[in-house]
Homo-oligomer: 191 residues x 2
């Protein structure tokens, strides 16, 4: 039962998500999804490459968000300041209110090795967008690559920590906590 009826894309996504929850990702077919949404298979493939992409559609915009955000951040910030402000902003703008949905989504992704690999690719795409962002702000390639990948790694760990909580703290606070912990780990002097 689809309980809301906005555009075709949203109806398809809602129907797919319901079916993934009810019967599992592997057992769900595109015809089942379109039948529940009351739409045709042709319409489905106009919006999504396959059933897997339904779970990743919302994240497609993230690289562009990262781009815009890094381009507009004030001058003169060092990478970690930029990382903290940027990740808190993304957490606030794009994750607020989605705790329960994202927790269910995480369970679906974890149930299937293809989905887990796709999720990892999403992180890589994001890290590449952030690398470009740091480079455009004048960081050298090495620093840009490292800062970007570390940001995405820290963000993923923060999101996981957030989704583990039944009565969750705000994600932006968990982001700050994660970066503080990262700083503690890496500030110990080398031998």
């Amino acid at each position: 039962m689809t309980r809301w009826k906005p555009g075709a894309r949203e109806r398809l996504a809602a129907a797919a998500f319901e079916l993934f929850v009810e019967q599992g990702f592997a057992a769900t077919t595109v015809p089942q999804i379109t039948e529940r949404a009351g739409l045709t298979t042709r319409t489905f493939f106009r919006h999504f490459a396959d059933k897997r992409e339904v779970l990743f559609a919302a994240e497609d915009e993230l690289p562009a968000v990262v781009d815009a955000q890094m381009a507009h951040a004030p001058e003169g910030m060092d990478p970690l300041q930029l990382i903290e402000i940027g990740l808190r902003e993304v957490a606030n703008d794009r994750f607020d209110g989605l705790h329960d949905y994202l927790r269910t989504r995480r369970a679906i992704v974890r149930s299937d090795s293809g989905l887990r690999e796709r999720e990892l690719r999403k992180s890589l795409i994001l890290a590449e967008a952030a690398t470009t962002g740091f480079r455009n702000r004048g960081e050298d390639d090495f620093t840009a690559t490292l800062a970007a990948h570390i940001s995405v790694t820290a963000f993923n760990i923060a999101i996981d920590r957030w989704l583990d909580q039944d009565d969750p703290l705000p994600l932006p606070d968990i982001v700050s906590e994660t970066l503080m912990r990262l700083r503690a780990i890496t500030s110990d002097p080398l031998p």
Copy 2:
């Protein structure tokens, strides 16, 4: 032409690698691999789940290596010291002399989205092994997870930097350089 003839597994791996280089990963079939190796398809599937796994066979042992290494490292090291010693050791023991092979392997992996995703999963498996290692050394879950994932992120960036070099510096030195850079990025004070 297979130029060396040790065990079946090695012959299959060498034949597959040659074919991936000559005609691409996608165009290579298991029967072509077994024909070149002078072995049967049945033998192939006794050693590898599919042609993709040929490229990941050597890394299957890495989690166990990480486990053993972390269990035997001296007491009282902080996470970053442990990371540096551990990664330098892995670089030395498992990567030395493989620069050209790994550069070619990287080109094959980059040519195929399925391989790229599998490569990311490999990193995740490694990060999970390292998380367990840190936890067994008494770190709390949060620090263990973060230290492990940061280690793998830094190691991957170090390997990439190494493979980018035509006349490569020793990988252990690039590992140390990467961790120093990481420390520089994260030691800047937060606002």
